[in-house]
Symmetry: C2
């Protein structure tokens, strides 16, 4: 009932009986003040729920408690999922996450970085668009703001890169597919927006050759991030015109595979590895929806948990140390084969 309205830290300090600078220190780090002082302040907070004004706080701090998170396309559940994990970890680390999506647009990516710059983030976790990114703009940003690059590697960008071991993951899947049936044809976009795709293609070619098989690649036309649509349309064409040299298709990513499975379904091709199946399909990413395709999609999982944890750990370390690691470190986490019904 009698909730005293506190307008600023001055009034709150008076109310709690502690001096304002000490109160300020408390809000910066509650454990930096004496235990008895901390207790008194917290009692006062309980009585009048005062919160310091964020704008005033950040105006004078050289280092804010903001951590930016930029992803290329938040409407893609893959990025939504990893952003969600990162957000949770950033909050646990005592920082304030601000997630921005570039919606697949390089101009918006640049705008997002500009927007972040204006809130002086302590650090940024950046998953760039990739091929389409404005490299210069990103480099300029990283020169000013501590940045950890994740998911999609742009050489030299940020103080570190943490991501998925595309090479290992591709060969794990390949080895499985080859020992359990025909060697797969690789199905990918002709001009993929994401640089991971190149790693995967190269790993496919190398591993196939190492295992004594001839690589076959089918390219899907189409630009942008509508990968299910591209996988469906081009997959259907390729199936109809019998472009696949074997009965097994390894899609460059799960979203292509999701569209491809629809194409196969509509053509009456039974997908799976049992009797009476016409072909096998595998994906890559363990996309949240890969559990709900028909049939469920065999794929290689990113280590979401470790990638998120490691990325957050790295950016927090850079923030605390104050100086970015002089040598850019690349950390890759191995993928895990997720065996389901499609291959």
């Amino acid at each position: 009932m009698s909730k005293p309205k506190i307008r600023n830290m001055e009034e709150f300090a008076a109310f709690s009986g502690i001096s304002r600078p000490t109160v300020s220190k408390y809000f910066h780090d509650p454990d930096s003040v004496r235990a008895s002082t901390k207790e008194r302040i917290e009692m006062a907070i309980a009585q009048c729920d005062y919160r310091p004004n964020i704008f005033a706080i950040n105006q004078n701090r050289k280092l804010t408690k903001n951590v930016g998170i930029v992803v290329p396309y938040l409407a893609d559940p893959f990025f939504a999922e990893i952003a969600r994990r990162i957000e949770t970890l950033v909050i646990a680390g005592g920082f304030r996450p601000i997630t921005l999506s570039s919606h697949g647009d390089p101009a918006l990516e640049v705008a997002n970085l500009a927007s972040l710059r204006s809130i002086k983030p302590a650090g940024v976790l950046l998953a760039p668009l990739g091929r389409a990114s404005n490299r210069t703009a990103i480099e300029e940003f990283c020169a000013d703001v501590p940045t950890v690059n994740f998911d999609s590697n742009i050489e030299g960008v940020g103080t570190a890169f943490v991501g998925h071991n595309n090479t290992q993951a591709t060969s794990v899947m390949l080895e499985y597919l080859i020992r359990s049936g025909e060697p797969p044809v690789f199905f990918e976009m002709k001009t993929p927006p994401n640089p991971n795709a190149n790693k995967r293609r190269n790993a496919y070619i190398e591993t196939m050759e190492r295992l004594g098989h001839t690589p076959h690649i089918v390219h899907a036309e189409g630009e942008g991030w509508e990968m299910e649509e591209i996988g469906y349309r081009c997959g259907k064409q390729a199936l109809i015109s019998k472009q696949f040299a074997t009965n097994t298709v390894f899609c460059s990513n799960d979203r292509l595979a999701i569209g491809f499975l629809v194409a196969a379904y509509e053509l009456g091709l039974r997908v799976g590895l049992g009797e009476g199946c016409a072909m096998r399909v595998a994906g890559h990413d363990n996309h949240p929806f890969s559990r709900f395709t028909c049939p469920t999609l065999t794929t290689v999982s990113h280590n979401y948990a470790l990638i998120a944890a490691s990325g957050v750990e790295m950016i927090l370390k850079v923030i605390e140390s104050g100086v970015p690691d002089p040598h850019r470190k690349t950390t890759l986490f191995d993928g895990e084969l997720i065996m389901r019904a499609s291959a």
Copy 2:
């Protein structure tokens, strides 16, 4: 090369040859200054890319340019899609969108509102969790901050509600299903997190009775937002134990339907409306993934575009007028039947 480093508005004003108050006025509204002045300022901006400090700006303005957007679960592509549209419109309106996800957690929803409150948003677009929401906390928030409620209606919350006409949409789909085959059984969660589900169930019962059919409802057990999983698990059980009175199933939402289709697929039940099909399945929402199910999902679409546009328009109107409309207005947009292969 010679990019002068401008540290604040003072320096920028000196650089551009205009006084600081006028520059300040320009950034508040570029058209409030003389055309020639505007041009000079914009020339200077092009030369040194200065941007006013957001924290300092917002500290003194009674009305910030921030607009909060809160959705219950951003990893759900449905909300990702509508959030994306809203963001775009908010930016076009000259405001700064800040999107937060409650990740299905009522405590995080409250935390998000607290977080928004501290950045003094001019207005907020809120899609609450629904049943799980902390009603008191939300009401307190809405009393202080202009809020437009969308997607999920909580009576009395916010100055307006804009959403989907569940009643109309349900009956449109029902009429279609009935005239093209057997009357459908309604498949829904026993304790749905979202209040739209109740509207849909009631509309189903009413419309069925109006059209002279007996309503049948199958309830899926399970809590939370993992609706595909629930639709799959419970759908499979219900199919095996033959709980469906007719060959047509109308799922309460697309995510349930997506899981249900996987169950039907695994049981070897051919879904669709042609010859040789064992059953029909329909959904509700036109979820981004409903185009890529097997078979593609017949559903009722939200009017994403109008809901987003109307919600943004309303909150901007409240912001500009300064006073919230005294009588809470509810605006519903009709759904559109999306005919695909599943029904």
